[in-house]
C-alpha cells in the first residue's frame, strides 16, 4: 500500500481506498538503468510511465543529430508521448532514462479501465490533460517571446531540483538556448543575488 504510485493515487488523485487494489492489479513496474531507452522516434508509443524514482526525458533529434529536450519527468510525474499513444501514430519523440529509475508502466487500456472503475481517476486524468495543454501553451509562448533569463526562471520554478541532477547542456537544450547563454544567465543571477 505504500508504493509511491498508490500513495499518489490515494493522496493526489483521491482514488477511493476500495478502488486502489483494483487499479494496482492493472499496472506493472519496471526497473531501468541510466541510458535505457523507453521509446525511439518512429515507433508507436504504447505506454505511459509514472516515475516512482528516477528521471526521464522526452526529446526529438533533428537532421543534424542535435537533441531538443521537450520534457523531463522526475518523481511523481507522468511521462508519455500522448499523441502517439492516443492516436496510434508513429512518435516524433524519443524517451530515455537519465537516472536509474523505478517506473509504473501502463497503457491506454489502463486509462480507460481505471476511468470506468474510479470517477476520481477519470476527473484527474482530464485535469492532467488540461494542465498539460496549459503547460505546453506557456512553454510555446516562452520559447517565442521570452528572454533566456525568464525561461530559466520558469524552469527552476517548475523543476527546482533538476538543476542539481542534470548537466547544464540539457537545461540549455530544454530552454532552446546555447549552453554559453545559460552560463551567462546564471552568472547574471548570481551577480544580482550573491551577497
Amino acid at each position: 500500500m505504500d508504493s509511491p504510485f498508490l500513495k499518489y493515487l490515494s493522496q493526489t488523485v483521491h482514488v477511493k481506498q476500495e478502488h486502489l487494489p483494483l487499479l494496482d492489479e492493472l499496472i506493472s513496474r519496471r526497473q531501468l538503468k541510466k541510458n535505457d531507452v523507453l521509446l525511439t522516434a518512429g515507433q508507436v508509443c504504447k505506454h505511459m510511465f509514472f516515475v516512482e524514482e528516477g528521471l526521464l526525458r522526452l526529446f526529438s533529434t533533428d537532421e543534424n543529430g542535435k537533441e531538443h529536450i521537450v520534457q523531463f519527468a522526475s518523481e511523481n510525474w507522468f511521462m508519455s508521448e500522448r499523441g502517439s499513444l492516443y492516436f496510434g501514430t508513429p512518435s516524433e519523440f524519443s524517451i530515455d532514462v537519465l537516472e536509474d529509475s523505478q517506473l509504473v508502466v501502463f497503457d491506454q487500456e489502463f486509462i480507460e479501465k481505471a476511468s470506468s472503475i474510479s470517477a476520481e481517476f477519470r476527473t484527474y486524468n482530464e485535469y492532467l490533460l488540461q494542465n498539460h495543454i496549459r503547460h505546453l501553451q506557456k512553454r510555446i509562448n516562452l520559447l517565442i517571446g521570452a528572454s533566456a533569463e525568464q525561461r530559466y526562471i520558469e524552469f527552476i520554478n517548475l523543476y527546482a531540483d533538476l538543476t542539481l541532477r542534470i548537466p547544464q547542456w540539457m537545461i540549455a537544450s530544454y530552454l532552446g538556448i546555447t549552453p554559453e547563454s545559460l552560463s551567462r544567465v546564471r552568472k547574471g543571477l548570481s551577480r544580482q543575488n550573491f551577497k
Binding site: I156, L164, L189, S190, F194
Partner: protein
C-alpha cells in the same frame, strides 16, 4: 581503559563513477549499518581505491556543483587533484595532502585530476569524507584549509613501528593540523610490518578505520585486508591496529552531533524546509558563480 570491540568489517562495494574521474566505493551512507545516523558526524565516505588512470588530454573530474551544511575532506594517497570554489579558494593537493573545505552556507566547487598528472596518467587513490556541521554552524561563512603533508603533525611510534599523521584531533597529546567545528579525530597510521598503535577515543564517538594499504590485525583478533572498513562499537575506548605487512590505515572518530539530518544530494541540513531553501538559493545564484 576498556577495549572498543569490532562491530563489523565491511568489504568495498561495487565501485561507481563520480563525474568521469573518480571511481569510488561508497561506505557511508550506503553500506549496511553505516548510515548517516550511525556514523554521525561522518555523513559520507567515498573511497577511490588504487586505480591506474591512463593518460588523458582533458582532465577528468566533477564539474561545478554546490554544497551546503557540511565540510568536505579530501585525502590524497596517490595522484593529484586540482579544485576551485566560488569563494575564491583553490589549489592542488597531491600525495599525503589534505583539502578541508567548509562548505557551510554554500559554495560551488569543481574538482579535477591535476593537468600534468592527467596528461601523464598514473595510480590514483583518495578518500573523500563529508563531516556534518552542528546546526549553529551550518550557515557560517565558507572557508578552506589546504593542508600540505609538511603541515600535518606526525607522531613517531617507538621502535621504528611507523608514524601517525594527525590530520585533525589528537594523538598522544599531539594536535592535528585542521580546525574542526565539533570534536573530530582523523589520522593516517603508517605502520611498518609488525608495527602496532593503540588509539583511544571517548566511548560514545563514532569510530572506524579504513585499510588503505597492506593488511592489519585489529584488536589482535581480526585480520582485515586492503580496502576494507572496520566499524568499531560505540562502547569501550581503546583499540589496537597492528600491521601484518607494511600498512596505511585511515582512522576516524568523531563525537555524534545528535541533531536531525535532512539530506538531499549535495545539501545536508536539519529540516526539509532548509533543503528547499538551499535548492532555491542555489538556483537563484546565491552560492556565487564559478566557470565550468
Amino acid at each position: 581503559m576498556k577495549t572498543r570491540n569490532i562491530e563489523l568489517v565491511v568489504p568495498p562495494r561495487t565501485p561507481h563513477f563520480v563525474g568521469d574521474g573518480f571511481r569510488v566505493h561508497n561506505f557511508i551512507p550506503s553500506a549496511y549499518r553505516m548510515d548517516m545516523k550511525r556514523m554521525d558526524p561522518f555523513i559520507m565516505l567515498d573511497y577511490n581505491s588504487k586505480f591506474h588512470l591512463p593518460p588523458s588530454d582533458k582532465p577528468r573530474g566533477v564539474s561545478v556543483h554546490p554544497h551546503r551544511g557540511f565540510e568536505t575532506v579530501t585525502i590524497a594517497y596517490k595522484g593529484k587533484v586540482a579544485h576551485h570554489d566560488s569563494s575564491g579558494g583553490g589549489g592542488v593537493i597531491g600525495e599525503g595532502d589534505v583539502q578541508w573545505m567548509t562548505a557551510a552556507s554554500g559554495v560551488l566547487h569543481k574538482e579535477y585530476h591535476e593537468e600534468n598528472f592527467s596528461k601523464a596518467g598514473g595510480d590514483f587513490q583518495m578518500v573523500q569524507l563529508w563531516v556534518n556541521l552542528p546546526s549553529k554552524d551550518k550557515m557560517s561563512t565558507p572557508k578552506y584549509q589546504g593542508i600540505s603533508n609538511e603541515q600535518i603533525s606526525k607522531y613517531y611510534l617507538p621502535d621504528n613501528a611507523g608514524l601517525i599523521e594527525i590530520i585533525a584531533g589528537e594523538f598522544q597529546g599531539q594536535k592535528g593540523a585542521a580546525s574542526t567545528f565539533s570534536p573530530v579525530n582523523m589520522m593516517n597510521a603508517k605502520l611498518e610490518k609488525g608495527g602496532q598503535a593503540t588509539f583511544s577515543f571517548p566511548s560514545h564517538f563514532s569510530t572506524g578505520v579504513l585499510v588503505i594499504e597492506g593488511s592489519v590485525l585489529v584488536n589482535e583478533v581480526e585480520n582485515v585486508p586492503t580496502d576494507h572498513f572496520v566499524l568499531l562499537e560505540n562502547e569501550g575506548t581503546d583499540f589496537t591496529i597492528q600491521a601484518i605487512e607494511k600498512a596505511i590505515v585511515l582512522v576516524l572518530s568523531g563525537e555524534p552531533l545528535n541533531e536531525p539530518i535532512a539530506a538531499h544530494g549535495p545539501f545536508v541540513m536539519n529540516s526539509h524546509q532548509e533543503i528547499i531553501q538551499a535548492i532555491d538559493d542555489f538556483n537563484q545564484g546565491k552560492f556565487g558563480y564559478l566557470e565550468e
